[in-house]
């Protein structure tokens, strides 16, 4: 009897290799890869800042998602086509009005501290996310419409909503709403930040600040998502999660074999890696919004649509992208990332056209130019304050801004780039001291548009932060987004989102650049490495080392 699961796993592995060849997986080399080998230590080198808390409920940023996906699991997940698939919840139902959702949980799952996964556990998590002291940001927003939860039975948990939320499942698929052990959550915030307890394939073993997080295999693991390549415990014995901020160092570490995988790979290193046969490139753009520059319509000069268009027309993004990303990223013309089936691209609106830009500015009354060639209107110079978060944009991106600055200068825009550390950056946004900004925001599904462009998003949180940085307040867009967020019929939903996006793009509220980049480089002998389609965070559950 012992042998069965293993053989099963083996077959699953093989199948997986076949199946997932299409998806975001390391496409294995032609030479037949043998059976997955169990064991070994995997070193992950992250370029992100070390998270201050390993519990993604707290705050809720991407670095947290990356690491927590190894030890925490969500109720649902998505497959490569964006369809919602079961995970901790094996099934779910919703009422016609879409206000009540029942999730049936897998019954034999326990957290790694022995606490059983049940309805009350899920309730505890929702409560935790909504608790102000948790200071949850991303998760908090995602649960915006949840009025209450109730345990229908031990295995069935009910979500009652204030209004229909067609994005609920997408929200729940995100790591920021991953389910943690209620016993763990009862601990102090610090303890839980040190080592959150989940149901995942790995367990947080230790966290040496400034150096590495060590994860060990969860040998009783039995709750892989439906699209996993195998069942039972993970192959890897240990994961060492390191933080190497210097991209050059990170790449050098990969080359010298010190680490097995690096994230935030720089374009030039990607090109090199693709040339080599010892390294493999895994490109997995993030879902949700595309990477874009928001134009602050809430104040001059961008409160004038003509000026917004002029700016967009005078920014030579295409050349910048080709030169800086050397083919590793494709220009986007949409508000949503290419991973989103409902994304609408409008390449007709965003081409570089200085003449048009000049005309528009003259029309808008910015006709004079001062000695330095910048446009002025009644003494005011046409200045664009552009705070850049050094922690959040990769160097190539900052270079793009520099190039936009340079091209926009030709049409008379003075773009003031201000690289700021994260808190000053938030500060600048909170104080509305910006005209253009690029703010990454990851939320699965088109509903991210509602977060980013619904006028409600202008209302700041106590800290002064708000999501609608373009400060779009267009009743029509609001209506479209609200309806789309409530409607359950897929085709109508798609239509509504299409309208909303067109209106948004035609209003020149944003300048799309490219998908949110998410490149990984890994050793060629790393097998079965893939990212969870939900928010494109890697999962090492199926990963094994072919050495």
């Amino acid at each position: 009897m012992r042998s069965t699961p293993q053989t099963l796993a083996a077959i699953a592995g093989l199948v997986a290799v076949g199946l997932l060849a299409t998806g975001c997986t390391t496409t294995p080399t032609e030479t037949a890869v043998g059976d997955p080998i169990s064991g070994g230590t995997f070193t992950y080198a992250s370029g992100d800042a070390q998270p201050s808390c390993l519990d993604p409920h707290v705050g809720g940023n991407f670095p947290q998602a990356l690491v927590s996906a190894q030890y925490l699991e969500s109720l649902v997940s998505r497959d490569d086509n964006g369809a919602i698939i079961p995970w901790l919840a094996e099934s779910w139902t919703t009422t016609d009005d879409g206000l009540v959702w029942d999730f049936t949980l897998q019954d034999d799952v326990t957290f790694t501290d022995g606490t059983p996964l049940n309805a009350s556990a899920v309730q505890a998590n929702v409560a935790h996310v909504l608790d102000p002291n948790t200071a949850s940001s991303t998760g908090y927003l995602a649960l915006g419409k949840v009025a209450s939860t109730e345990a229908v039975s031990d295995t069935v948990v009910r979500f009652e909503l204030t209004e229909p939320d067609s994005a609920l499942l997408e929200s729940l698929s995100q790591p920021w709403l991953a389910i943690q052990s209620p016993t763990g959550l009862e601990r102090s915030k610090d303890e839980n930040c040190e080592a959150p307890v989940g149901t995942g394939p790995f367990i947080v073993d230790s966290w040496v600040k400034q150096n590495a997080i060590t994860l060990v295999r969860n040998d009783d693991y039995n709750s892989p998502p439906a699209d996993a390549a195998h069942e039972g415990p993970a192959y890897l014995e240990t994961i060492v999660w390191r933080f190497i901020p210097e991209s050059a160092t990170r790449y050098a570490a990969l080359q010298s074999g010190e680490v097995d995988l690096i994230d935030n790979a720089q374009p030039d290193t990607i090109v090199q890696a693709e040339a080599s046969d010892t390294l493999v490139h895994l490109d997995s753009p993030r879902p949700g919004a595309s990477n874009r520059i928001e134009l602050n319509g809430g104040k001059a000069p961008f409160d004038d649509v003509l000026v917004r268009e002029a700016f967009i027309r005078s920014a030579n993004v295409d050349d910048a992208v080709t030169s800086l990303f050397q083919g590793t990223a494709t220009r986007s013309y949409a508000a949503l990332g290419s991973r989103e089936p409902l994304a609408v691209g409008r390449d007709d609106l965003f081409d570089y056209d200085p003449d048009a830009a000049n005309a528009l500015l003259d029309e808008a009354g910015w006709s004079e130019r001062d000695s330095e060639g910048y446009r002025v209107k009644n003494g005011e110079r046409l200045n664009v304050q552009f705070p850049v978060s050094t922690n959040q944009s990769i160097p190539a991106e900052q270079s793009i801004f520099e190039q936009i600055q340079a091209t926009a200068k030709q049409t008379g825009f003075e773009v003031s780039l201000a690289p700021l550390d994260i808190s000053s950056w938030y500060g600048a946004l909170g104080a509305n001291e910006y005209d253009a900004v690029s703010a990454p925001y990851t939320k699965a599904g088109p509903d991210v548009l509602r977060v980013l462009y619904h006028s409600d998003g202008i209302v700041p949180a106590p800290s002064g932060y708000f999501a609608n940085l373009a400060q779009v307040s267009d009743p029509e867009i609001d209506a479209l987004l609200t309806e789309a967020a409530q409607i359950s019929d897929e085709t109508e939903r798609a239509a509504l989102y299409a309208d909303a996006q067109n209106r948004l793009l035609e209003g020149f509220h944003l300048l799309p650049l490219y998908d949110q980049q998410n490149h990984f480089l890994l050793q060629a002998d790393v097998q079965g490495m893939r990212t969870l389609p939900s928010v494109s965070v890697p999962t090492l559950y199926d990963t094994w080392l072919n050495r």
Binding site: A49, Q50, S52, C53, V58, G59, N61, P132, N133, A135, S136, S137, Y140, K189, D190, C193, E194, V208, K209, Q210, N211, R242, F243, I244, P245, E246, A248, T249, R250, A252, A253, Q255, S256, E258, V259, N391, D421, I422, S423, Y426, G427, G430, A461, P462, S463, G464, Y465
Partner: protein
């Protein structure tokens, strides 16, 4: 005895001053510390939460009370809590201290060896060696750590692949960081050592040593080198300080755990308690280091023990 007491008094004074300076400097920092505790303005911290934090960290107390409170806590070795990492600073800083001390000490040693080798070699090998030696020293002294470090990574990790670019369990990971720190310092020390070495070699006691039949090597290693070492020894305290400065860069580039990297992260994330903690611990280290160098110079030069 009296001198010892004075010494201790001085040390305590310096620590107190450092603590005071940092305390008040930190109070000038823009931004609400309470917000920083809750993960910066990016978080959706509620008003209550902020209030709670202010209470927890005593930020609602009057400034002077906070100051006294901090002094008391520092006196009892409590460095407070990190905003960003939400852990006690004391243990954190101590855990980071080891790594920095390790590379700093190794670098100091290596710098010494290099400087000595260069000085002795360039003072004996004639004109060419002289120019080469002093040239090397000047260039070395002018090398920016970050530039040199990246160059080393490119050459030794990427091209040759002999040394890992990041901290590893083994010794190999130490090589590049230590070299990065050591070479510029060696440049400085070398310049000083050569000057005093020449002075020593021209001094009468070397002549009488030669007149006794002492060999070139003997003259150098029995007499001259010791004199050459003296000024360099007394500089080691300062050198150690500069090494800690260098550690900030080196630890960031080579992704090493250590005070420098901790400090830099703390500064960029406005993690005030950690900054204070690092500054304090560095001050302590510096004081100890100067004590050590004083002792060392006394050992190397008995004349100091006599006068002073």
């Amino acid at each position: 005895m009296l001198r010892v007491l004075a010494r201790i008094g001085g040390a305590v004074f310096v620590l107190w001053a450092v603590a005071t300076v940092t305390f008040f400097a930190v109070r000038l920092i823009p931004g609400d510390p309470a917000e920083a505790v809750l993960g910066g303005p990016g978080s959706m911290a509620s008003a209550e939460a902020l209030a709670a934090v202010r209470r927890e960290y005593g930020l609602d107390q009057p400034l002077f009370v906070q100051y006294l409170d901090q002094l008391v806590r520092l006196a009892t070795g409590d460095l407070g809590r990190s905003y960003a990492l939400s852990i006690d600073v004391g243990p954190l800083v101590l855990s980071q201290l080891g790594g920095t001390l390790l590379i700093a000490t190794l670098a100091l040693g290596l710098a010494w060896l290099l400087a000595l080798a260069l000085a002795t070699w360039s003072t004996r090998g004639g004109r060419v060696a002289w120019y080469l030696g002093s040239g090397l020293e000047i260039v070395a002294a002018a090398l920016p750590h970050f530039w040199f470090a990246t160059a080393l990574i490119v050459v030794f990790s990427i091209w040759l692949g002999v040394f890992p670019p990041i901290s590893t369990s083994g010794v190999a990971g130490l090589v590049l960081p230590v070299v990065t720190l050591a070479v510029p310092l060696a440049g400085f020390l070398g310049q000083i050592m050569r000057e005093s070495l020449l002075l020593a070699l021209e001094s009468p006691f070397v002549l009488s040593a030669r007149a006794r039949g002492e060999s070139e090597a003997g003259v150098r290693w029995i007499h001259a080198v010791r004199h050459a070492a003296l000024p360099a020894i007394s500089l080691s305290g300062w050198a150690f300080g500069s090494l800690i400065s260098g550690a900030v860069v080196v630890e960031t580039i080579f992704a090493r755990p250590g005070l420098g990297r901790t400090l830099l992260n703390a500064v960029t994330s406005r993690d005030v308690p950690v900054v204070v903690g690092v500054v304090m611990i560095v001050a302590v280290v510096y004081i100890l280091m100067t004590l050590l160098t004083d002792l060392a110079s006394r050992l190397a030069d008995p004349r100091l023990a006599v006068r002073s």
